[in-house]
């Protein structure tokens, strides 16, 4: 299971302040805490700074990579900001994200094909958000077709079925779970990724919902998750689910986590 740490996002007040004050120590520490907790990628998002997004995103890339030796998940809907951020990035980034929306696909294509990288592909049609699993898979299949036609390897594509709040639509959980399974079955080699926390918007005890949803997604074959790796109870759920799904031989990772005191949740 690939873990993308979500904590460096300027829609969070303290991150926004740190970016504005160019507080490299604070940002570095947020990156380190996620790396120590097991993140494989660190997501960076400066989307709230509309006019200075590219500049701040580049600063985040350099600051985080000075603090931790990990590739980053460059998170922006803006091709321009991503183009700049990739130039500052060391190693192979994950680009978050591309979609079929008007203009966005064509503008993003040269950005994601210019260098080796992994790509998060949002399963939304050109002009509407998806509701059902079929709508997600239909949009996703078209994205896969277009990206592979441009030479992107299937293994580098991460399908994001777009998790929406279950408080608004009680059927969204099932729609996402079915879509994950369909992608994993119909496109062997492709990856799936979810931003989990959307699912619990508008409800109490969000951590419980997020961690339960993570286990359900993992059963369907989810290969990557964007989450808060410093949430020890969420990470404990992830470890025990991996073990129960037969992805932890001799229960080694689970026992190791226990011995490091990581399961006291």
């Amino acid at each position: 299971m690939l873990i993308v740490g979500e904590n460096i996002n300027t829609s969070r007040r303290r991150i926004s302040e740190a970016v504005e004050h160019q507080d490299a120590v604070f940002i570095g520490n947020v990156a380190k805490s996620q790396a120590d907790a097991g993140a494989h990628y660190i997501d960076v998002n400066a989307g709230t700074f509309v006019d200075r997004e590219a500049e701040y995103l580049c600063w985040l890339v350099e600051t985080v990579q000075n603090a931790v030796d990990l590739p980053l998940c460059l998170d922006s809907p803006s091709p321009k900001a991503l183009f700049e951020a990739i130039r500052c990035h060391r190693g192979e980034p994950m680009i978050n994200s591309i979609s079929l929306e008007k203009d966005r696909f064509n503008a993003m294509l040269p950005v994601v094909t210019a260098q080796p990288c992994r790509i998060v592909a949002l399963c939304m049609a050109e002009s509407a958000m998806p509701v059902t699993a079929d709508e997600r898979v239909k949009a996703g299949a078209l994205l896969i077709e277009k990206l592979t036609a441009e030479g992107v390897a299937l293994e580098n594509i991460f399908m994001d079925p777009l998790v929406q709040p279950v408080s608004i639509d009680p059927h969204v959980g099932h729609a996402v779970l079915d879509a994950i399974k369909m992608f994993m079955n119909d496109f062997p080699g492709v990856n799936t990724i979810c931003g989990l926390s959307n699912v619990s918007f508008g409800l109490p005890v969000r951590r419980l919902i997020n961690s339960t949803f993570l286990s359900l997604c993992m059963l369907q074959g989810l290969s990557a998750a964007i989450l808060d790796p410093t949430d020890s109870s969420l990470m404990a759920t992830l470890l025990s689910a991996e073990m129960l799904l037969g992805r932890d031989e001799y229960c080694e990772k689970y026992i190791d986590a226990y011995q490091r005191g990581c399961l006291d949740v």
Partner: protein, 212 residues
Amino acid sequence: MTTIETLRQYINKGSIEGAVNQTQKAIDDGLQVKKILNDGLIAAMDEVGEKFSKGALFVPQMLRSAKAMQECMELIKPFFREGDLTPKGKILIGTVHRDLHDIGKNLVAMMLEGAGFAITDLGVDVSAEQFVKKAQEIEPDIVAMSALLSTTMPSMRETIEALQRAQIRNTVKVMIGGAPVTSQFAKDIKADVYAPDAGSAVIEAKKLAGIS
């Protein structure tokens, strides 16, 4: 407890069947529909909005209450006479150009409607020109815009500039919101108000309409 008080309670609890039956009872008792609307339905939704803002109610509960109110409205609509339905203000709302996210916008529209505003919802991917055209047509008190992407936030500025060019910026108030939107951004683009969620959108709209 009076019939109206009981009605408020049903709306508050989100009991659709109870609220509808109670509304029918109020009609049968000969209560004025205007009173049912203002003292019953709208007053109850005010309480719902307040509780939601304080975190005492959650989104699905709010949705149920709004649904209950809508069903009751259907019931009393045929009884309204000319002039009975005087909304607190007219609001034109939409998700901005090239942005397809409507969950937040829909919640805001629903709560504003519950508070007694007349809502015209242009949906998603609404261009500056579409906002202006509709605003010229219906002359709203407030133009409300939502955006969820950093790439679509500049469309808010474009809409405000388009309102200016059409010389109607002074006749409307502009309210904006959405996950990446901040109060600083609202100031930067000279919007009148930033509302971070549905509850505060209602509070701010009432302030703008001069009724709280």
